[in-house]
Amino acid sequence: MTNQPSNTLSLEPIPTPAAETTRATDVAPAPWATKPTMAVSFTGVTKRYGAVTALSDLELQLGAGSTVALLGPNGAGKSTAIGLMLGLLHPDAGTVTVLGQSPASAVSAGRVGGMLQESGLPVGVTVAELVDFVRSLYPHPLSRADVLAQAGLADLAARQVERLSGGETQRVRFALAVAGDPDLVFLDEPTVAMDVETRQAFWRDIRGFAAAGRTVLFATHYLEEADQVADRIVVLDHGRTVADGTPSALKAMAAGRVVRFTLPSADSAAQRAALRALPGVTEVAIHGDDVTLRSADADATVRAAFAADLPLRDLEVTGLDLEAAFLALTSNSGSSASSHADHEEIR
């Protein structure tokens, strides 16, 4: 796996009906893989904490100018990956480079900004003072007005930081991450502690920042954030990449549609077998009379269900949202991922 070419898109080849994110040799390389300068490159990176392996032989190439979501459940290795990219952690094996140099030198050259999880602000300063201080550390910072505007803090410049709300504090932390006008920004779960409205405004700011050609990498377990903001999503689970591609490719990869209906006395061995035998069905979940099927070919499934004269009611066919796709991906890791039919339950 480590011998794959450097533009390999995913660590684990994930055989799915959708070929958008299969091996790079199969399809034309995606734009981010062909750009000459890699914003971030992980080569065979392993990181352990004692007996716990946080990242396992991770391969990851992120091109400049993209907005990438690092998606995964708690403990997937997202924060570890970001710690490595910022030089806060050192890999046990493999190498991490950022903008073609070591993470530490990229940081001290002022080309990188970071917003860490749960990093507090010092007491006894105003927002403007703190922003100015961080600006002064970088060779070519944004102007104070720009920073405050970018982070939506223009009205809070004179506020003491200890008087800020949780969401406002997050905005200040974002302001500090971008104050030096870095080429590359890492955000570790940036919207924690924000309400829905603040969160939307925040992502508008991030999009604005990324629009100027900067690379933004953020970790999240909010799936809709990854879906809406990122142009590439890397799904981590147990320290490995389990999927990697555009949001639509990921959705397609998790395949198919969801067919829901109620079926009296569905929860019997015979009915279960009958449902499984329907064409296109990859997973069956039954809760009382409620049946949820995942199908690679919903039309065929529904047609066959009616043809078999199943007494079904309340039929509903929906596309998979990213959440479902994500759950399918992460619940599959560990097994060979070759057959979704191994799973009885969708949720």
């Binding site: 030089g87 940081v107 002022g110 860490l116 990093s119 507090g120 602000l121 006894g124 003072e129 201080f133």
Partner: protein, 263 residues
């Protein structure tokens, strides 16, 4: 010395020190313990007769100088130690716990500037407290010293407080916020009492006086007292101060590296 240290630490040290001075000066603990407490205690002891109650002489000779000058050095030493704890100690522990130190490490600020900067800030913010005690001595007690003695006094207290600054920084690296709070109070007053800052060593029993001579606080103040009477610094005392600085400094470096490695 500030100049030398700041040159050595690179261009980012100035904004860091400026920010930290601003923060320290706004800290209520700074106003109370570093500026207010030594000044009030000095005035109480030397003008209200608290220390000399029952004695006919309002300004007795202690250690070869008037008590008003002697106790000025004592309180200046206390202010210096208190300034060190304002910068290190609880506050440093809080900054590590909150993740602010980690946040600084993802900026171009060289990690060492955080520590070197803290030392500079401690030296800088003790200055107003030292000046206030000195002004009180001059105005209230007619203490009069040649200019070079004042300068030697300031340099003595700056250099002599380095082990205390290192100790305060070490405290912030060793303890969580609550433990640092307790340790800080204990050290601030323990080192003052046992170091003879509140009661002159000359009036302590022999056993306690021996202990006092082992403390960095006594040796710090002794540098100042010797400046006033025009004696050369005590070699043993200077060595002790240097040894304390080295030991605390090495311990700080050790804890600091542990932080660097990512816990």
């Amino acid at each position: 010395m500030i100049y030398v240290l700041s040159r050595a630490a690179g261009p980012t040290v100035r904004p860091f020190v400026a920010l930290e001075i601003r923060r320290a000066v706004r800290n209520r603990r700074f106003l109370v313990f570093t500026v207010g407490f030594p000044l009030v205690l000095y005035l109480l002891y030397t003008t209200a007769g608290v220390a000399t109650a029952g004695s006919a002489d309002h300004d007795p000779i202690v250690g070869g100088m008037h008590f008003s000058a002697y106790f000025m050095v004592s309180m200046a030493s206390f202010a210096a130690m208190s300034a060190a704890f304002t910068v290190g100690g609880i506050r440093l522990s809080m900054e590590r716990a909150s993740g602010w130190v980690r946040q600084l490490r993802v900026t171009p600020l060289p990690a060492a500037v955080y520590v070197v900067g803290k030392v500079l800030v401690a030296l800088a913010i003790m200055l107003p407290a030292l000046v206030l005690v000195a002004v009180a001595a001059v105005v209230a007690n007619d203490v009069s010293l040649p200019l070079q003695t004042w300068i030697r006094l300031l340099v003595s207290i700056w250099l002599g407080s380095l082990p205390l600054v290192a100790l305060a920084i070490l405290l912030g690296y060793l303890f969580d916020v609550e433990a640092a709070q307790a340790a800080q109070m204990l050290l601030l007053f323990g080192l003052s009492i046992f170091g003879g800052l509140f009661v002159p060593v000359q009036s302590l029993p022999d056993a306690l006086a021996t202990i006092a001579r082992m403390t960095p606080t006594y040796q710090l103040a002794d540098l100042g007292w010797r400046a006033i009477v025009g004696q050369t610094p005590d070699l043993g005392g200077v060595c002790l101060l240097a040894a304390y600085t080295a030991v605390f400094g090495v311990l700080v470096a050790w804890r600091y590296r542990a932080d660097e490695r990512g816990r």
